[in-house]
Amino acid sequence: MTRITIDLADVQGNVLRPFAYPLAAYAFLSVGDVDAARAWLRSLLPSVTTAQPWAEKPEVTRTLAFTCAGLRALGVGPDVLRSFPAAFVEGMAARADVLGDTGPSAPTHWDRPDGEAHLLLTVHTRSFERLGEEVDALRAAVAGHGLEVHHVESAHRLLEGREHFGFVDGMGQPAIAGVTTAPPSQGSPPSHWWQRGWQPLAVGEFLHGHADNDGVPGPAPAAPFDRNGTFMVYRKLAQDVAGFRAHVVDQAGRRGLDPELVAAKLVGRWRDGTPLVLSPDQPDPRIAGDPARVNDFRYADDEDGYRCPIGAHVRRTNPRDALGFGAAITGRHRMLRRGMPYGPPLPEGVGDDGHERGLIFVAFVADLVRQFEFVQASWCNDGNAFGLGADCDGVLGGDAGSGKMTVQGDPPWFVSPLGRFVTTTAGAYLYTPGMRALRTLAEEGAS
């Protein structure tokens, strides 16, 4: 077995392993004066958190990412910028049609054009007090340093790691060869008969300059961004919790079903995380509570989707072995998700209270198109890859597609009409450079 060497001191933190703090602030900044902004960057560099193992968990972590406009503003030359993929250069708003950000999710309705900001400083910590201090300190520090705070979003973990619709979130993260010592079922099913157990993904699926699942390094930007950097997908997704709950009750009432079953069929897991494919009739706390079992499942044995619908949210976003060839196909479309909910939870039994709530979706990928955009466009917003025609994701919903979700069974039934429960309200494509590239950027701009 090839030994995989990753210079963890050159990789920013929270990429290969999640920080797992309960609180985060996402501060978007704009560069005014490039020299002053570089000076501020140089002052910040010693406190940027890397992927090196901690002797003790720090009180606060800081990581940096840049939009294409930000790299340009900091003096990155045109030749280097041209080496970045078109999707990154164009920015997320320009990719709205590809991503299905239409209707209420269209960029013209977004809170603010995050893609026009230049850099994103992400801060993780444990207390609201410390988070507030960090943001105040940032505002004070950038004043007079050629930077302006565009805006700040804050996010916080909900009880039991659930998202606002009430489901335990973030369980199915890919394992990475040479990095992750997570439960083996966090990887991908084997692609070949001679492989046993679950296979970790190659680090090149997430970090530039390393071999990916194809066995060779994939496309990467030019030096100094050619090694240990990664693309960051940032999306602010508003969730209509009251609407989702009412929809589930309505659909269950029409079929004479338990609303919890309808919700589970939409998602592909019960709220506690129990996979439908392992326990199709009810949640099983023995499975949900066992890290070795909660992700140890495949779909090839449920080809017809009788246990977990073929179009369920988690089955679409990670079809595992459902597409054949083991995980050879799925393994090329995985993401490291590092998002966190924002806004107050809506208590059960309470109607819409007018508060905005949702998910700050953050994902790291080596290839924006092959990984994030492909999953969004071909697996969530379309059903063709799964033999489902124009059916789209019943949780994300939206105006596109057939307007229904097919729940396979004997007899099958349809969730119809689909509502829109998730609306994109902001988003940006950013680049998270390795530490050496970050230093170059802070010192000379990388032309």
């Binding site: 078109a86 029409r254 079929r255 025609g389 057939s402 307007g403 229904k404 039934w413 349809f414 119809s416």
Partner: protein, 161 residues
């Protein structure tokens, strides 16, 4: 019966980016230049790098028209598309000279052994079938709660006996 057509033309060194920009700017769907060629099921242009040490422009199509008829349609019915893309390929004679341009395209034709899509029916039959499928998909959720007799009546009303 549908035909498969594929044209592989080498691209001048250093022109891949320009070619991709041209292709990315082309309208798609019903506004696609290919839609002006009657009987086109599917057609696309792809820039493939690293093919035989260079860059190749691949034009592939599934069409009701035989190869030559499709190539002439390409030259005469798609406005200036051929000049915009193949002028970046060595030897392109220009679409104004249709016979020479058609001969040039034929020189670069390769025989597909695996088609992106293939149909045993002409385009109008495929479109009819798709329209019927769309009606059936719309009908199914609407009718799922009906009692058997009502379902049968609704089906007959929608699709006829």
């Amino acid at each position: 019966m549908a035909f498969q057509v594929a044209v592989h033309a080498p691209v001048f060194p250093g022109c891949a980016h320009e070619l991709r920009t041209v292709i990315a700017g082309l309208p798609t769907g019903a506004a696609s230049p290919f839609a002006a060629i009657a009987g086109t099921h599917y057609a696309r242009l792809v820039v493939a790098e690293g093919v035989r040490g260079g860059t190749v422009l691949v034009c592939s199509a599934v069409t009701d028209a035989p190869e030559e008829e499709f190539l002439v349609g390409l030259l005469t019915r798609t406005a200036d598309l051929p000049d915009r893309v193949w002028s970046l390929c060595p030897g392109w004679p220009g679409q104004v000279d249709v016979p020479r341009a058609a001969a040039w395209l034929k020189q670069h034709v390769v025989r597909p052994t695996l088609a992106f899509c293939t149909h045993d029916a002409p385009l109008d039959r495929v479109q009819e079938a798709l329209a019927l499928r769309a009606r059936l998909i719309a009908f199914a959720p609407r009718a799922q709660d009906l009692a058997p007799a009502d379902l049968q009546a609704a089906f007959l009303q929608e699709f006829g006996p």
